[in-house]
C-alpha cells in the first residue's frame, strides 16, 4: 500500500463534500456534506500517522479530537436548524436572506 492511494480517496471525498455544500438547499443536507469533508480530513490524519508512526500516535489522537468536535457541531447545528424551522416552517437555506446585503 502506498500513501497516495488513501490521500486521493480523501481528496475525492472532500471535493464531493464541497459539491454538496454548494448545491444543496436543505440545511440538514448541507450538514451531511460537512460530515463528508470531516471524514476526508480524518482519513488524511490517519494516513500521515500510518506513514510516520509517531510514538504517541498523534495523528490518531487528533482524528479523535476532530470526531468529538464534529459530534458537538452536529448537535448545535441541528438544534439551530430546528429553531429556524420552527420560526419559518422551512429548512431551506436559500430563504434565510435576512442578513443578506
Amino acid at each position: 500500500m502506498i500513501a497516495t492511494q488513501f490521500l486521493i480517496l480523501a481528496a475525492a471525498l472532500f471535493s464531493l463534500g464541497v459539491y454538496g455544500l454548494l448545491v444543496r438547499r436543505n440545511a440538514v443536507l448541507v450538514l451531511l456534506s460537512v460530515e463528508l469533508m470531516l471524514a476526508a480530513v480524518n482519513i488524511n490524519l490517519v494516513v500521515f500517522e500510518a506513514m510516520w508512526r509517531t510514538s504517541e500516535a498523534i495523528g490518531q489522537v487528533f482524528s479523535l479530537f476532530v470526531i468529538a468536535v464534529a459530534a458537538a457541531e452536529v448537535g448545535i447545528g441541528l438544534s439551530i436548524i430546528l429553531m429556524i424551522f420552527r420560526n419559518r416552517q422551512s429548512a431551506n437555506v436559500d430563504e434565510l436572506d435576512l442578513m443578506r446585503w
Binding site: M1, I2, F14, V23, L29, E56, Q60, L64, A68, M83
Partner: protein, 182 residues
C-alpha cells in the same frame, strides 16, 4: 510498479471499498430523498472505517462506527423527520448552480490530488502491519494531550447545554400560567 501494486490482496480490498465509499458519497450529495442521503452517509462512513482498519487504526475505526454510525446518523434522521414540512409541495433539494459547483469541486480535487501525488509519489507505507494499541492512545490522551482532551470534554458539555437552550421552545404566557398553577 503497477503490477506489484495489484498483486497485493490488501490493495484489492482498498479498491472495492474505496469505490463503494465514493459511490455512496456521491449518492449522499445527489440523492433527492433526504432519508436516503442520510443512509448513504452510513455506507460512506462504513467504508471510511474499513480504510482505517487497513491503515491499522482499529480504535479510530471503532469510534467512527460507534459515534458516527451509532449516534450522529440517528441525530440526522431525527433532524430530517422533524424538519420535513407537512404541507405544500416537495421543493427541489438542489439549487440551479450545479455546473459551477461541480467545476469548483473538480478544481479542489485536482489541486489536492496533484499535491498528494507530487509530494508523496509512490512512498510505501512500510510498517503498516502493527496495530496502534489503545494503551498508546490512552497515554497520549492523559499525558501530553491532557489539556486539549479536557477542553474537548468541556466543548461537548457546552454543546449539550447550548443545544437544549437553543432548541427548547419558550413557553407562551398562557402555558406559563398553566405550569405555575399545577
Amino acid at each position: 510498479m503497477m503490477g506489484e501494486w495489484f498483486s497485493q490482496a490488501v490493495n484489492w480490498v482498498y479498491l472495492v471499498v474505496g469505490v463503494l465509499t465514493l459511490v455512496s458519497a456521491y449518492r449522499v450529495v445527489t440523492s433527492q430523498n433526504l432519508v436516503h442521503a442520510a443512509l448513504f452517509l452510513v455506507a460512506t462512513l462504513g467504508g471510511v472505517a474499513v480504510n482505517f482498519i487497513l491503515l491499522s487504526a482499529e480504535f479510530v475505526a471503532l469510534v467512527i462506527v460507534l459515534v458516527y454510525i451509532g449516534a450522529v446518523i440517528v441525530l440526522f434522521l431525527f433532524g430530517i423527520m422533524i424538519t420535513r414540512a407537512s404541507t405544500g409541495p416537495e421543493v427541489a433539494l438542489d439549487n440551479d448552480k450545479k455546473v459551477p459547483a461541480a467545476l469548483i469541486s473538480l478544481i479542489v480535487f485536482a489541486v489536492l490530488a496533484y499535491t498528494s501525488v507530487a509530494t508523496f509519489g509512490t512512498a510505501e507505507l512500510v510498517d503498516i502491519g502493527t496495530a496502534t494499541d489503545t494503551a498508546t492512545l490512552a497515554e497520549a490522551f492523559v499525558g501530553r494531550f491532557v489539556v486539549p482532551f479536557e477542553v474537548v470534554g468541556f466543548i461537548l458539555l457546552a454543546a449539550l447545554v447550548g443545544g437544549i437552550a437553543i432548541a427548547r421552545r419558550d413557553l407562551t404566557p398562557l402555558e406559563e400560567e398553566a405550569r405555575r398553577s399545577v
